[in-house]
């Protein structure tokens, strides 16, 4: 797998000196992260290390207490709207999709409606066009025949694939995946990982928080190991997960190899 960074691809999304506190607890203590176009970054680390908070700061789902998020060269401001489509949180989220651990599908809408909701409501895409694209995306994740089903009738793996299709329907430049297989039964993890792997192969820019070490090593161009709110190790999978030099990373990775 090529490292997008080495090829000189432009930076799409960047976090500079991100700090985040919840009450008196500082979860992120100044983190820098940049995503180049087409790059896949894997965020690993023990629970409580701040990796989910970091990825949630990247689309302002959590407002950082310090530092800035920069998208296409513009620092994202505090307000939802903007005049020119550069600095608003709404603009950021329109172009940076997110998939959650617990799917968060809209239970009152069918699978198809879940996928078309964003394009129709946010992008004002004509319904017919949105539906056509949604069906294509559902076919890609192998769920075209479930388009009229309600989420409650789907398995966890199917729900998560619909959630990925819903995020893709916005035609995002970056996709943020927050522990997307952690809530799944073990036998359903594979089908979701396969979808993500195909996205990576197709050149989608992604930040992935995961506990699937083998998957992260396989799919990511770069691995960031977080511990206690800081990035402790950064490097290619071959230098990190496969051959950890750092003691804490080695201990962390070793726990997944049993």
């Amino acid at each position: 797998m090529t490292n997008a960074r080495d090829t000189g691809a432009p930076t799409v999304l960047e976090a500079r000196g991100i700090r985040k506190s919840f009450g008196g607890l500082e979860v992120l203590k100044g983190v820098d992260l940049s995503l180049s176009r087409g790059e896949v970054v894997g965020l690993i680390g023990p629970s409580g290390s701040g990796k989910s908070t970091l990825i949630r700061c990247l689309n302002m789902m959590e407002k950082p207490t310090g530092g800035s998020v920069i998208f296409r060269g513009h620092a994202i401001g505090k307000s939802f709207r903007d005049r020119d489509g550069t600095t608003g949180i709404g603009t950021l989220r329109r172009h940076v999709g997110m998939v959650f651990q617990h799917f968060n599908l809209f239970p009152h809408k069918t699978v198809l409606q879940n996928v078309t909701e964003g394009p129709i409501v946010v992008c004002r895409t004509p319904r017919a066009e949105a539906e056509e694209r949604a069906m294509a995306l559902l076919a890609e994740v192998g769920l075209a025949e479930k388009c009229d089903a309600y989420p409650s009738h789907l398995s966890g793996g199917q729900k998560q694939r619909v959630a990925i299709a819903r995020a893709l329907a916005m035609q995002p430049e970056v996709l943020l995946l927050d522990e997307v297989t952690s809530a799944l039964d073990p036998e359903l993890v594979g089908e979701v990982l396969n979808v993500i792997r195909r996205l990576a192969d197709g050149g989608m820019t992604m930040a992935i928080v995961t506990h699937e070490m083998a998957f992260a090593a396989d799919v990511a161009d770069r691995i960031l190991f977080l511990d206690e709110g800081r990035i402790v190790v950064e490097g290619k999978p071959s230098e990190t997960i496969r051959n950890p030099a750092n003691e804490r990373l080695a201990a962390f990775v070793a726990r997944f190899n049993h």
């Binding site: 789902m61 329109r94 959650f100 968060n104 009152h108 409650s152 995020a167």
Partner: protein
């Protein structure tokens, strides 16, 4: 053995009908105003503004913790002394009924909205929706379904509660039944007809409500 005689009541059918009409008007009128009040109060409580929330909360507690009968008497007899203008009994009745049910509706709306998981709002935000879009397209439709049974229940109670306006001489169904009884000295017949009319309106309504609830359950 009591000899039932409904025949003497026939000549008063127009009084019953007018009373029933007023009962229906006060019920639906106060439900309509109550929904508006409930939405505003609910929004105030969820606004995150301390002062606004406190005012809304105070209103709710006052109206939920005093009997409707006491509120009716207060608004008709006491309130005019306070503000120095006399209030028509029909206005006092509609005002009190609306404020009363609005306090309960606000709590039903608030409970419904708060019962929707945070993840729903986040998922809406993640596809670029504004908080208004997330609220109206994602949270409200789900909350509506959850609050519907309590809402209908409260509205059925409201229909029955309107009978209390008769104490401030509003000529609703209960008031008219008392009038007919005064004319005929037939309490058993007068009040039985009154009860039957309440049932005749409410029973079909509760059946329709059940049907709507079942229809809304398709996505579960």
């Amino acid at each position: 053995m009591y000899r039932w005689d409904f025949d003497v009541l026939w000549q008063y059918w127009d009084l019953f009908l007018y009373g029933l009409w007023l009962t229906v008007v006060y019920t639906f009128g106060s439900i309509l105003f109550g929904v508006v009040i409930g939405l505003v109060v609910c929004a105030a409580r969820l606004s995150g503004w301390m002062i606004l929330s406190l005012i809304a909360r105070t209103y709710q507690e006052i109206f939920r913790c005093t009997p409707l009968l006491v509120q009716l008497l207060w608004f008709y007899y006491a309130f005019p002394l306070l503000v120095g203008i006399s209030i028509d009994n029909r206005v006092a009745a509609m005002l009190t009924l609306s404020l009363y049910v609005g306090a309960f509706y606000a709590e039903i709306f608030r409970g419904g909205i708060l019962s929707i998981e945070k993840g729903q709002r986040e998922a809406a935000a993640a596809i670029g929706m504004s908080s208004w879009q997330a609220m109206t397209r994602i949270v409200m439709p789900q909350a509506f379904k959850r609050m519907l049974p309590s809402f209908i229940n409260q509205s059925v109670i409201q229909f029955k509660n309107t009978s209390l306006v008769s104490v401030i001489s509003v000529a609703d169904l209960a008031y008219m039944a008392a009038v007919v009884n005064g004319q005929t000295y037939r309490p058993l017949e007068s009040y039985t007809v009154m009860a039957a009319l309440y049932i005749a309106v409410l029973f079909p309504l509760t059946q329709i409500a059940d049907w709507i609830e079942r229809r809304l359950r398709v996505s579960d």
